[in-house]
């Protein structure tokens, strides 16, 4: 198939490399250096999609990031990606793309019926139509909208591509490599500044690639190439193409998305697909240029109607004709440049200029070339369904209100130019309060908010000479401040054509008796009539008009529609545009893939994984792991075909009858040293600490200042001024920060140091009636008798030559010890325990058995210390010292905390002794009561009691103290369960605590 719209010569594409690609299943050819858009246009394909609301045919409108229409579903290397702009996607061999937003096909689209029903789809139609009846939403509206609309489908497969994040610092970040970007980068680089120059397109040079200018006796393109090659050689400069600076955040932090591999058929080995750059810049130069504004007329969304600058870019960069019978409709000189390019390539365009009698160099040139020009003429309406085939044109009165006789002329494209809108997004994101510049009828940046400077067209400067001059100066001055160097650069001679004044006219009036749709927002299908309705219905704030009509809310964020919308509102309201104000620009400037934002933090890398030194032993012994914060802990050790329930029951039972060993390395450990260490503990914990002897451990509860329990754990006095604190696994980091806060800010007079030693020690809990016997084997030289090492005792020893700490503490409620050795010896310790424990039937137990053991003992853990409970609630009020003050004590006399029916921990047993109680269920008095049924409490933790062989739960229950013996109901609407239960003591096993002391 031939590329019928490709010129014989010209363009910056590589004609030696022909590429094949597929669009909607059909094979086409293009060249290396094409975009999908330019290659399709070269093949005469103009119908690429359907519009969002009315499903009208859509073609190409732009040639870059501003494109509102040509959004495709891309297929690359067995993956698919939605929301890809055909104007940005570079062509590669084997590329496949499909139209989106059209069902069942782009040529026959059922949704197009909306086009004939448009009377029912006015502004606010989502709000008006789909609101009622409510039941219709899920059944009728949503499925219909989902099928008929949308901008593509996300892949459901795991994305195998790699995305990277990079952090970079520089002196100057320059966003955009047009004339202002190149000039400022060059000047700053010559002054020795560290420069990053970012260009979102594959080619550097911006407008220089398409404009007919001369800089220093070279074409604009040659000059740009020269500067770029010089910059690339400089060690202090990073030059990046395919890189969009899309967000400007606080303290000159900018974010840039680099498309590293999207232009290739397949990502190269060890390369990322995309890279996200976090750049902290001392100075930011915004050289993002400007975007051409559309003109508004009837059916101005017909494929073939496009920006004149885009038509010129397709010609000059890609050697592609957007049409062979073009009409150029303009209100300024830019349209002439496009017409002249057509003419130079043997095409005869017609120019319609809304202005009465403009005069300039370029108009003269067009006249001299014999181009047909009609002044005071406008396009009234485009005709043609899937592509423009003719246009209604008419003379327009000087006040732009009256149309003359309408004539119809044949054409196959309409290139529109409504003058230029500076791209001020980054400046606005920085916090710059933009101002309206009357001469160009657009907003430009005002006073800089952060260290940002906007240059060239982005700043409303549309002549090359002034742009280059101010940009060289800015680059030089800003870099001089940083590097103290002052290398003067000679300013090149510039030849350009000076434009005449544009016409303040954007919207062609409707001819009598015609009801053409005149579109403002091409992606969201917002027409002039929608804005009129919104205003009629009383919307005034531009932010409200935007939301009600969805103007500018599509994925292109109104790059081509915002200003025309504002012009229209201000015309109707008889206000000037600055009084209407523009809506807020927010990052990202253009859509960014989720993969780029997430970077490498996917799957296992979404958070760090912490493993205990005994991890490999657990793995070898069939441990099934569970996440405990970022730790991986054995949940149970599977034997044969056991499930979780069977295994944990066996493990727990073995602890109660023989001896078990549990990896408790994950517990937070804090080393506390200093003469005031005891005083710190005394202030941090609710109980008394000043008299704890050396070689003794004590259980403590610490509160927040509001009286709520923060954490619990044991702390051991290792020596005179040395303590070893343990925290729960979950709170380890918070407790350390908490201690540091008080030591550094509140009581700096305390002479204490704290440091985390969680990773320095490996811990094993040895629990069960036979644990002492096992300990005797492990530490034959130590007296571990009840007298030698009593409950809450501590001693130091050696485990076959390895330094060890032995704590006699218990979480399981059994006679138990905790042995700590330095992490490197953890595996050795563990294997010794297993080896020497064989004769006592030792078995490892995981977190599930650990939970069972603590629950039936009534020991509290994270599920009870949930940030809502106080000491009384968890029956820990006995540990509150009356004699001393401590953190949070003053809060404990709050009315709610002291009320007589305050919630308290209780035990819960199902009456049938069989039904397991779901955690989180509510306790109610009457299961039949009408909703909302009053909640008396909730189930905090459930287990199968191995001691009693029936289910048992802990609950936090209102007036729990007086509820023992009561019969209540557990309700779990989630599991659809109602269970009659009896309230019992939370200490279901060994209520007197005799075992731990045995």
């Amino acid at each position: 198939m031939t590329q019928k719209f490709r010129l014989e010569n010209g363009g910056l594409i590589n004609r030696d490399k022909k590429l094949s690609f597929k669009f909607n299943g059909k094979t086409y050819y293009g060249y290396e250096g094409d975009t999908l858009a330019s290659a399709l246009i070269a093949n005469g394909v103009h119908l690429v999609g359907r519009s969002f609301k009315y499903h009208r045919p859509r073609g190409f409108f732009g040639a870059g990031v501003d494109e509102p229409y040509a959004i495709v579903q891309l297929y690359r290397n067995n993956e698919t990606e939605p929301n890809i702009k055909a104007t940005e996607q570079e062509l590669f061999e084997g590329l496949e793309a499909k139209s989106v937003n059209c069902w069942p096909s782009v040529n026959f689209d059922i949704g197009a019926i909306n086009n004939f029903l448009k009377i029912f789809l006015p502004a606010g139609f989502y709000y008006k139509t789909f609101m009622w009846p409510k039941s219709f939403w899920y059944r009728v509206y949503e499925p219909f909208i989902r099928k008929a609309a949308g901008l593509g489908v996300a892949s459901t497969k795991h994305d195998k591509e790699r995305y990277e994040h990079k952090y970079e610092y520089c002196d100057l970040l320059i966003a955009g490599s047009g004339p202002s970007g190149l000039a400022s980068a060059y000047a700053a680089a010559k002054n020795g500044a560290r420069v990053i120059l970012a260009e979102d397109k594959p080619r550097f040079g911006g407008s220089l690639l398409t404009s007919d200018v001369n800089i220093g006796n070279q074409s604009g393109e040659d000059w740009a190439n020269g500067i770029i090659s010089e910059l690339k050689e400089m060690p202090n400069v990073v030059v990046k193409n395919r890189s969009q600076v899309f967000g400007y955040y606080d303290h000159n932090m900018l974010v840039m998305s680099e498309k590293v591999s999207d232009h290739l058929p397949k990502t190269k080995k060890h390369h990322p697909k995309q890279r996200l750059w976090y750049i902290r810049a001392k100075e930011v130069l915004i050289s993002s240029g400007s975007i051409e504004r559309p003109l508004v007329f009837g059916n101005n969304d017909t494929p073939g109607v496009m920006l004149s600058s885009a038509a010129k870019e397709y010609l000059k960069v890609y050697g592609v004709l957007v049409g062979k019978n073009p009409l150029v409709f303009t209100n300024n000189d830019s349209g002439y440049e496009t017409a002249i390019e057509f003419k130079k390539n043997g095409i005869n365009p017609i120019i319609l200029d809304s202005r009465v009698n403009p005069q300039s160099e370029i108009i003269d040139e067009a006249i001299n070339l014999g181009i047909k020009i009609k002044f005071s003429y406008v396009v009234v309406a485009a005709h043609g369904y899937k592509k423009v085939s003719s246009a209604d044109i008419a003379k327009i009165s000087n006040d732009k209100k009256q149309l003359g006789t309408i004539e119809n002329i044949k054409c196959d494209c309409i290139c529109v130019s409504g003058f230029w809108t500076p791209t001020i997004h980054l400046a606005s994101q920085s916090g710059n309060k933009t101002k309206f510049k009357e001469e160009i009828d657009a907003f430009v940046p005002g006073t800089s908010k952060q260290n940002e400077t906007t240059l060239g067209a982005a700043n409303g400067i549309f002549t090359l000479e002034e742009t280059l001059k101010s940009s060289f100066t800015a680059g030089q001055d800003l870099s001089k401040k940083i590097t103290n160097k002052d290398n003067k650069i000679s300013f090149p001679n510039v030849v350009e054509k000076i434009s005449s004044q544009h016409d303040k006219f954007w919207c062609v009036p409707l001819p009598k008796g015609k009801n053409y749709k005149r579109f403002l927002d091409f992606q969201n299908d917002v027409a002039v009539s929608d804005i009129e309705i919104a205003l009629k219905e009383g919307y005034r704030s531009i932010e409200h008009v935007k939301r009600y009509t969805t103007l500018g809310m599509a994925t292109d964020q109104g790059k081509t529609s915002n200003l025309n919308g504002l012009q229209l509102v201000s015309d109707i309201e008889n206000k000037v545009v600055p009084a209407v104000g523009h809506t807020t620009f927010r990052p990202p400037y253009t859509p960014i893939s989720i993969g780029t934002i997430v970077g490498r933090e996917v799957g296992k890398h979404s958070k760090p994984t912490r493993k205990s030194p005994m991890h490999s032993w657990h793995e070898k012994n069939n441990a099934v792991f569970v996440d405990a914060g970022v730790w991986l802990r054995p949940r149970y050790y599977k034997q044969g075909n056991e499930n979780l329930f069977e295994a944990s029951k066996r493990e727990a039972k073995n602890v109660r009858t023989n001896v078990g060993v549990c990896d408790v390395t994950t517990l937070g450990k804090i080393d506390i040293k200093g003469p005031d260490a005891a005083e710190l503990l005394n202030r941090v914990y609710t109980n008394a600490w000043l008299k704890l002897p050396v070689g003794k451990a004590r259980y403590g509860v610490m509160l927040r200042e509001d009286g709520i329990i923060m954490d619990d754990g044991t702390t051991t006095r290792i020596s005179e001024n040395h303590y070893h604190m343990t925290t729960t696994t979950a709170q380890a980091a918070n407790v350390l920060s908490h201690l540091e806060y008080y030591l550094q800010l509140v009581w700096p007079e305390l002479n204490v140091n704290v440091v985390s030693t969680t990773e320095q020690w490996a811990g094993a809990a040895i629990a069960g009636p036979k644990s002492r016997k096992l300990l005797e084997k492990l530490f034959p030289n130590n007296d571990v008798s009840n007298e030698g090492l009593p409950f809450m005792g501590y001693t130091e020893s050696e485990l076959f030559g390895v330094k060890a700490r032995i704590f006699r503490i218990s979480f399981s409620g059994e006679l138990a010890y905790e042995v700590n050795v330095e992490s490197d010896n953890g595996q050795f310790m563990w294997e010794k325990i297993i080896e020497l424990g064989q004769e006592f039937q030792v078995q490892p137990y995981g977190t599930e058995a650990l939970s069972t053991l603590r629950i039936e003992m009534g020991h509290v853990a994270g599920s009870e210390l949930d940030g809502r409970t106080i000491s009384y609630d968890t029956s820990l009020e006995g540990l509150i010292s009356k004699k001393k003050d401590f953190i949070g004590k003053r809060s404990l006399n709050r009315e709610a905390f002291t009320s007589s029916d305050r919630q308290k921990i209780v035990g819960v047993v199902p009456l049938d002794k069989k039904t397991s109680i779901p955690e989180g269920s509510h306790l109610v008095k009457d299961a039949q009561a009408p909703l909302p049924n009053k909640k008396l409490g909730h189930i905090s933790a459930s287990c199968w009691s191995v001691e009693h062989d029936n289910p048992f739960s802990l609950a936090i229950l209102k007036d729990g103290k007086n509820m023992i013996g009561e019969k209540l109901f557990v309700m779990s609407p989630l599991k659809n369960k109602v269970i009659p239960v009896e309230i019992v003591s939370s200490h279901y096993v060994d209520p007197k605590g005799e075992r731990v002391r045995s």
């Binding site: 000159n252 509001d706 920060s737």
Partner: protein, 89 residues
């Protein structure tokens, strides 16, 4: 993302720090008789200032020091940072 000058480590990105609230709040002395109102003000009541604000940050993924940061809550401008025990003029 803010750029905060830790008085010990230098300029660091915000993600190395954690926020600690109003630095002007003073914890009542231990064992001192105080009114409920005074205690409530310490525990719960904070001004939501617009403008200059002296606040606490901890350089969590750095030197772990709690520092004081003078910041504009509306513009995020940081005027100065101080060590915890530094006199602020």
């Amino acid at each position: 993302m803010l750029h905060i000058k830790c008085p010990y480590c230098g300029m660091r990105s915000q993600n190395e720090f954690s926020y600690g609230g109003d630095a002007s709040v003073k914890r009542p002395e231990l064992n001192k008789e105080i009114s409920d109102e005074e205690w409530d003000n310490f525990v719960y009541n904070r001004k939501s200032l617009r403008g200059k604000h002296l606040e606490l940050w901890q350089h969590l993924s750095g030197c772990r020091q709690w520092i004081k940061v003078e910041r504009d809550t509306a513009t995020h401008e940081i005027f100065n940072t101080y060590k915890a025990d530094e006199e602020i003029s």
